[in-house]
Subunit: 403 residues, 2 copies
């Protein structure tokens, strides 16, 4: 088929908009109705709506600060969780030494919105992304980049030179087989190279054990986390003996925040989920029980009941595009007998035998999300509420920034 | 607004609409670098990058048109798949009688970008969403709304009256237990009510069997689809006998497009995935084999290899936020021995025993996504390529519009 809609006229319009559209947002993303949402009850929002209870968010920030007091370990929270400059600023105000990003496009969005202390935990391995990172570095002295390959270190050095900067770099030391340079001799050799390259400045080590965060049961998690991290600790010692910078020794997460404090020389935690919590973290268990109660669930999705015709079932408007397919299932607050299935793209399906009330079409339900990071990534804004009223609507500026 | 939605005039029109309570752009989502991407090889794009091969997309549009020729059944493609006004326009140009949306916010985004023939397949059950829908209807005579409850029909009638319109409505007849009014007497009673309400105009029936689309094996799918749909057919006949409109009798999807044509009185197919295809649809099997080859995979995600240190493994930059957690796993084109795991939010993990080449950091891979609809929803733009070169960059205007 020769498509009519690829007509020259239509095509030129598209191209034309691109040419002139430097920062003209082509696709309006946020309704202006939002401004008028302040003061509205979260139970009256159009749904699905992502909400954070500000009292609980602040409680989680305060809890983390209190728990780390006197340990000598700081936080460098991972912004991939919230992708929201406003929340990054709250974390910095609560004493964080900086924030992390997973992607260069996240770093761009945060920096463009007034957050400058950024450590990007993934290496940029292509020329264009390295250029994007160095563009940030040119105007942001507090931007730190990760490296895990020698050729990549040389490319970063060349790009830093071209940008006229000395770029701050940390060595990403692998725990497991996902990312990073293997611990030990290879990591040390890479650090020595970075230390020598004139346009790079070695700042230390990042080393993240993704698998450790959700190990169920505190004692098992404690044991395995420290065991898995031992090669990184040894690498850290090798750096020290070689006179290389260990100013930063960063890693850990919400599941291991009170474990990593036991690691000698460890400087800061890349905690993410602690501000929000989710169904996944609730079930990992804490030091004193099967439910992880160190932090309180602050993040929820409001949804609306669409269908009540069928016995033992309800249909809602929050499916996989509102909650993701992560497990365990979303938790319906106040309805212990509800099993929530977000397997359909557009609809949630609830099965139940007992319910606290009789539901009718239009009723709202509040859900704890399965896994906070990818759920947040489905939304353009997060409604900050206090005593159930919207106090602020924050843009999730780095939403969808997976590059 | 007409088809020049991307022109300066179109943009101002959109911005102007904001003042009336529709849209106000706040967060620039699309990098200005995009304009310069035209002509670039998809193998050089920053990744993860969502791409559609335009030759294959056009082939799928042409195939559907050819397969339906002479059947008397039209397409009314579901825009929840692509959320992209440009693709909706291609479908209309290829003969579609309209498009569907699942959410009112999708309908708003499409209409704001020049698509007017819209049937919204989900009922709006709250006052504010009904108001949003009627706001569309006030300026769009081609907007059709679904209803599945009597009280809701009365609310729609009141809102239509307030908006000064007679709103077009279809009855959503349930197949299964997810959405819609139960087939038979309840559906008939609702239709009679709609027919009587002065500010509603009954246009017919929609009836969608979500579960049928992915039944493996054509003969089983054929049998079960027609069996499941029988109550809807009987309801359609009841409408006819009662002198109610059956002008629209819409349903079906990509997995049943060549089955629903056998349903008497059936008018149009809500096909979505046929334009893109995905790993899920490939495995449902076609009339002549285990692989569903009626349409060709046109949609892919480009990803970059980040880590090659560990034997039998590769790490890429496309994880759950780039591909979703849908199963089956993403397919690496050209590497039959690769097992792709997108279970990590930010990283893809590949396990392999044999590979067509030795990969190094920075190499690109091209992936067929697990399930096209939610994967598209992770991106702001889709790169339309021809012979691997970017020809156009389309905004996914309704991305994240889950309300």
């Amino acid at each position: 088929m020769k498509s009519d809609a690829f007509s020259r006229r239509g095509f030129l319009h598209t191209a034309g908009a691109g040419a002139m559209g430097a920062w003209l947002p082509r696709t309006p993303r946020v309704r202006d109705a939002e401004a008028s949402l302040v003061g509205v009850s979260k139970w009256d929002l159009d749904t699905p709506a992502l909400c954070v209870d500000l009292d609980k968010l602040e409680q989680n920030l305060a809890t983390m600060k209190a728990k780390l007091a006197g340990t000598g370990v700081a936080t460098r929270p991972h912004a991939k969780t919230h992708k929201c400059p406003a929340i990054a600023k709250l974390q910095l105000a609560a004493g964080a030494v900086g924030v992390c990003t997973a992607k260069v496009s996240e770093a761009e969005a945060l920096f463009a919105n007034g957050v400058d202390k950024i450590l990007m935990t993934t290496s940029n391995v292509t020329a264009n992304k390295i250029r994007r990172a160095m563009t940030i570095r040119k105007t942001n002295r507090n931007f730190i980049q990760a490296v895990d390959y020698e050729p990549n270190a040389r490319e970063l050095n060349d790009a830093a030179k071209e940008a006229g900067v000395v770029a701050d770099v940390v060595i990403d030391v692998a725990v497991g087989t996902r990312s990073g340079v293997p611990a030990g001799a290879q990591a040390l050799a890479l650090a020595k190279l970075v230390d020598k390259l004139p346009n790079l400045k070695l700042r230390g080590i990042i080393s993240y054990d993704g698998g450790a965060q959700h190990i169920k049961g505190f004692s098992t998690r404690l044991e395995r986390t420290l065991q898995n991290f031992e090669p990184s600790v040894q690498t850290h010692d090798m750096f020290k003996r070689a006179g290389l910078s260990t100013e930063i020794f960063s890693g850990g997460g919400t599941g291991t925040y009170n474990i990593m404090t036991k690691v000698p020389g460890f400087t800061d935690l890349q905690v993410g989920s602690y501000i929000f919590m989710d169904a996944q973290y609730l079930e990992i268990g804490g030091e004193s029980g099967d439910v992880y109660t160190d932090f309180v669930p602050s993040l929820t999705v409001m949804t609306t009941v669409l269908n009540t015709y069928f016995p033992g079932r309800l249909t809602t408007d929050a499916g996989a595009k509102a909650l993701t397919l992560n497990k365990p299932d979303a938790i319906v607050i106040g309805e212990k007998g509800f099993v929530y299935n977000a397997g359909s793209d557009e609809f949630g399906s609830i099965r139940y035998e007992t319910a606290a009330k009789t539901y009718k079409v239009g009723d709202r339900l509040e859900l704890i999300v399965p896994h906070c990071d990818p759920a947040v990534n489905e939304y353009d804004v997060i409604h900050g509420t206090r005593k159930d009223r919207v106090e602020v609507v924050w843009p999730i500026s780095a939403r969808g920034h997976s590059q």
